[in-house]
């Protein structure tokens, strides 16, 4: 019997397990909102994490990342929340690649100087800007020079194969997993994936069997989605508890640590 599963189904959350949700949006949204203010976001996001047994979450802004909006406002919101809960949230800055090169570099510089070490892209929803378009190539170069993680809702397999080879020192993370990603995950050591998908029966088991547990990270696409939607498939999967713990938090912690983005309190848990 899996101890991780047993605790979860007993309603205890995930005791003795480092849990990092690697895929969260926070703040205003296009058709809805999660929290009205940074203060409310800080308080209620921690409350939700506590209720599920989640130690920390990786977050990008919400609707301000979408086409037509000023992404800097979303980044401002993100920074405000992060300052209140630095032990619980890992910020992922966002840009719109349709903006000018100088504005994008300027925002990367601003956020880097604030201490942000991770980037989340959503170019598919930004007029489907190509994943290897010129402004994103500049961004990958920036990430390579500054040792930053690049996370994206989706790249095409062709594009991620190209850029992951061109920037071998950059960690690239898919926002969503499906088995169409297996060839990339199996051939590129610097490409990983968040799990969140409305997957079918056994989809996560097959993914782990095909690609290895080290490639997968918990992600719920909260806070519009419930956090449990990401945890459920992992705890019920048929893999070992060691593998579940890797996916629930250890894999993400390891990657965040390589760019200096893992909060100190979690580093202690991680190293222990």
């Amino acid at each position: 019997m899996s101890t991780v599963l047993e605790n979860w189904i007993q309603g205890k959350g995930l005791p003795d397990t480092l849990v990092i949700d690697g895929h969260i949006h926070i703040g205003a949204w296009r058709h809805n909102y999660t929290f009205l203010s940074p203060e409310e976001a800080a308080e209620k996001s921690v409350h939700l994490c506590d209720a599920h047994g989640i130690d920390a979450f990786c977050s990008v802004a919400g609707g301000y990342t979408h086409q037509g909006a000023d992404y800097r406002k979303g980044n401002d919101f993100l920074l405000d929340v992060w300052r209140m809960i630095p032990d619980r949230m890992i910020p992922f800055l966002s840009v719109n690649p349709n903006d000018s090169e100088s504005n994008i570099i300027s925002e990367l510089d601003r956020m880097y100087s604030e201490g942000v070490r991770c980037i989340k892209l959503i170019n598919r929803y930004q007029e489907n800007y190509p994943g290897d378009g010129p402004n994103l190539m500049i961004l990958y170069e920036y990430a390579s020079e500054h040792n930053m993680i690049v996370f994206n809702h989706a790249w095409t397999n062709e594009v991620i194969m190209e850029i992951s080879e061109m920037f071998p020192g950059v960690t690239f993370i898919f926002g969503h997993y499906s088995n169409t990603r297996d060839p990339v995950l199996n051939s590129r050591p610097n490409v990983y994936t968040n799990i969140w998908n409305y997957g079918n029966l056994g989809w996560i088991d097959r993914g782990i069997a095909n690609c290895g547990p080290e490639k997968f990270m918990l992600g719920s696409d909260g806070f519009l989605n419930p956090l449990s939607a990401g945890i459920g498939p992992v705890v019920f999967s048929s893999v070992s508890d060691d593998d579940k713990r890797c996916i629930l938090g250890l894999n993400c912690a390891r990657l965040l640590d390589t760019v200096g983005a893992l909060p100190e309190n979690l580093k202690l848990s991680f190293l222990s």
């Binding site: 189904i9 205890k12 209720a51 997957g199 029966l201 419930p226 459920g232």
Partner: protein, 267 residues
């Protein structure tokens, strides 16, 4: 880390799945199907106490009777599985054909039905004879808007039609099923549920909207479902177990008690 607020245990929730599809097929991404050989092991693995089950092919291959008959052979003597037939209104008008169909279903032990709303339009006059026959027995009717999988969508015309059908048969419980298409539910659904007291919603395909329904219209109107094998059961099971803002008793209603109450009313 340990949760700071304990959620109810799964076994305390006594899960009753309203949507489990039995049978095999070919569908992109789906490589594990639910068969007579593995169904009990799957229910056990996910701590599902009971399930309403229907045949995969009965939802989209004619004659539906083939799938419905195969279903009865599969669930024969397995008390945890409750067969659901997928049926269309008889083309011949009048009470007789509809009552015969309902009678044969009840004789076979079928206590719930699934209507394929994207096959037969939601015109009240088409459904009148069948719903009148079903209403005498209060059988729960699932209004299934899904495609081959459990993804589906509802149109403006559907919304109007559902309202007319449900209000014309107040003694018949109707359950919206597979009304989520990936980007959300039709904005009229909540208006409909608030105005039609015998309308419920199952949570197949829905991560968040069911909570809004439960808050706005009451947890009595929400029915748990996994949608397996098209959806990994752990997603929606954990979703309801750890849902924020509901008491354990409310979660228990949605997890299974609501459906047991509806089936208990079948005459």
């Amino acid at each position: 880390m340990e949760a700071t607020q304990k959620a109810p245990s799964l076994d305390d929730l006594e899960l009753f799945d309203t949507c489990c599809t039995l049978g095999t097929g070919v569908f992109t991404g789906v490589s594990e199907w639910i068969t007579p050989e593995n169904v009990i092991a799957i229910l056990d693995r996910y701590h599902i106490k009971e399930a309403l089950v229907h045949d995969h092919h009965a939802r989209f291959i004619y004659p539906r009777e083939h799938g419905n008959t195969r279903l009865l052979e599969t669930v024969n003597n397995i008390k945890r599985l409750h067969p659901v037939w997928v049926i269309d209104p008889p083309k011949q008008p009048g009470k007789g054909p509809a009552e015969n169909l309902v009678g044969s279903m009840l004789n076979a032990g079928v206590q719930a039905v699934r209507f394929r709303m994207n096959t037969i339009p939601s015109c009240a006059w088409i459904w009148k004879d069948l719903c009148t026959a079903l209403e005498k027995h209060s059988l729960p009717c699932f209004l299934d808007f899904g495609d081959v999988s459990t993804r589906g969508d509802v149109s403006d015309t559907d919304v109007t039609g559902i309202r007319e059908i449900c209000l014309a048969h107040p003694g018949l419980p109707f359950v919206l099923s597979h009304v989520m298409g990936g980007l959300g539910v039709h904005p009229a659904i909540m208006y409909l549920i608030r105005r039609v007291p015998n309308l419920y919603i199952d949570i197949t395909g829905i991560l968040e909207y069911w909570r809004e329904t439960a808050r706005e219209a009451g947890p009595e109107r929400v029915l748990f479902a996994t949608g397996m094998p098209f959806t990994e059961p752990g997603i929606l099971i954990s979703n309801i177990q750890y849902a924020a803002g509901f008491t354990d008793e409310e979660k228990k209603l949605m997890a299974g008690s609501n459906l047991r109450r509806l089936l208990g009313n079948v005459q």
